[in-house]
Amino acid sequence: MTEMKNTPVSETAKDEPVRLKKRSYWGEVWHRLKKNPVAILCLCFLAILLFGIIFANVLSPYDYTAQDLSQRFQTPSKAHWMGTDDYGRDLLTRVGGRYSLLIAILSVAIGIVFGMIIGALCGFFGKGVDSVLMRIMDVIMSIPGMMLAICISVALGSGVFNTALALAVGTIPMIARQLRSSTMLINGQEYIEAARSFGESNFKIIMTHIIPNTLAPIIVQTSLYIGGAIMGIAGLSFLGLGVQPPTPEWGNILNNGLDFVYDFSTRWHVIVFPALFIVLAELAFNLLGDGLRDAMDPRMRK
């Protein structure tokens, strides 16, 4: 106490500037997300999955198309952690393979880019632009998502990009709608008027003021949409419309496995593992989305 009395306040402040702990917006979101064990678990699972996809060639001694007919329907063992399928292909290499998750991310990315452009234009300009674009969105939305995806993939043919596109078309109107309403809300805020009063152009206002303010709900939705897209792709491939074998995709692995599962006690692995991955990946994205929503909710902010 006496020491403090002797030193003038200004001097202490000079010597040791008060270090305020500062976090950016994303730092703050991360900080709150960290406190949610479920979300972190999901994030870890997805990170491992993504890591496996990227480094599949290095991590697995097998090629996902390499057949070994002497090794058909092996149950899980040290050599084949998830066993092998009807052609003796290593199931872990195939299930851990790249396509399901990549197509899901690609399709949601396409959906978000177009959805955001359309939504921002509609919300910002309103009137004619809004009516025309939103009616088109309504038409797309009125068709059940899975049916739309089936129709588009039939029309475009199978393949990685076409499957992604088929699913993306269904997500565009959902994102456009959401962005439209948040754009309208933000457009009425005074800081948009302020930006206009400083001579900013419409394009600049949309890009620097409106989009960043609408991003939080979109990020949450993205996580949920990716989960949905995984189901969609698996569904399409299961029906034989999405990605074609031998390209490994959870849906077509499952479909393929289904033909041999009449002997469940020895061949259970050919359907349990791909199904488990579909469920876990979808669950992880959904729970991560929930966690992100809680972390980004301004009402939760202290």
Binding site: E193, S197, G199, T208
Partner: protein, 270 residues
């Protein structure tokens, strides 16, 4: 003009040019650069997801041909001018108090050294102490930058402190216009008199304030004649029918009131 508002007639003349005749592009170049604005509510006039430094630099980059680094330097200069330390440039609006936010808005408004500053009730959202601080700062910066200011307010105390010429508005019209002294010492319009009458005074022991009688008329259904006549204590029969024009009662002091005009005529004997 936001929808459904429409400009039917009139002109906005700035430097001998009618702004209403300009293209959108020309107006955008004018905004923030030549004419800028301070908003009423500092809480909502800043973008919540952009750092304040970026928001100040944005205006500079928009209007001045300079690099990002130069804009950064100018931005720190502006923060310093409004009394906020430069190391807070990376903070977000929610980390500042109301008074500080208003100062940041002032920094944005003055960043390009505008000729004209429109201040729309800049201190209504602030408490009296902060209000005094902000107004003192605005007045100093106004002198320093050589900026003219149009101050819109209902606070006659602020008017007395920072204005040279005053226009009193009622129901969308200027009812009295003159120098600060004209309005405060030679008040002529009954509405202005009423305004001064409704200010609480420290030097008198009053129990009740003296409000102007009646209510504001509906702006889309204004009364015939003088719009103030239903509330005017001096209203005569003529006020009901005749819309008063501007009368110049002393040089530079205009009043829109029949009574003032009559008094003027009596004095000059015409």
């Amino acid at each position: 003009m936001p929808e459904p508002g429409k400009i039917l007639s009139g002109s906005i003349v700035y430097k001998d040019k009618n702004i209403l005749d300009m293209t959108e592009k020309e107006v955008q170049d004018l905004r923030g650069n030549e004419i800028s604005m301070i908003f009423q509510d500092p809480m909502t006039a800043l973008n919540p997801v952009m750092t304040v430094g970026d928001q100040i630099a944005e205006v500079i980059l928009r209007h001045q041909e300079c690099t990002k680094a130069e804009a950064q330097v100018r931005m720190l200069e502006m923060l310093d001018k409004v009394g906020i330390s430069g190391d807070r440039a990376g903070d977000y609006p929610h980390q500042f108090s109301g008074g500080m936010k208003q100062r940041i808005i002032i920094a944005i408004a003055l960043a390009c050294n505008p000729k004209l500053l429109l201040a729309d009730e800049p201190t209504t959202a602030l408490d009296v102490t902060i209000q005094a601080q902000v107004m003192r700062m605005v007045n100093e910066l106004k002198k320093e930058f050589g900026t003219s200011m149009v101050l819109i307010t209902h606070d006659l105390g602020i008017v007395a402190e920072s204005c040279d010429a005053v226009a009193i508005m009622y129901a969308g019209e200027i009812v009295e216009y003159g120098s600060l002294e004209d309005i405060f010492d030679r008040t002529a319009h009954p509405y202005t008199i009423g305004l001064f009458g409704s200010i609480p005074r420290l030097d008198l022991d009053t129990d009740r304030l003296q409000p102007i009688q009646g209510l504001m008329p509906d702006p889309i259904n204004l009364p015939e004649g003088c719009p103030f006549h239903p509330r005017c204590p001096y209203a005569k029969e003529a006020c009901r029918h005749e819309k008063p024009g501007h009368a110049e009662i002393t040089p530079g002091h205009f009043v829109k009131c029949l009574r003032a005009k009559e008094q003027l005529e009596e004095v000059t004997g015409s």
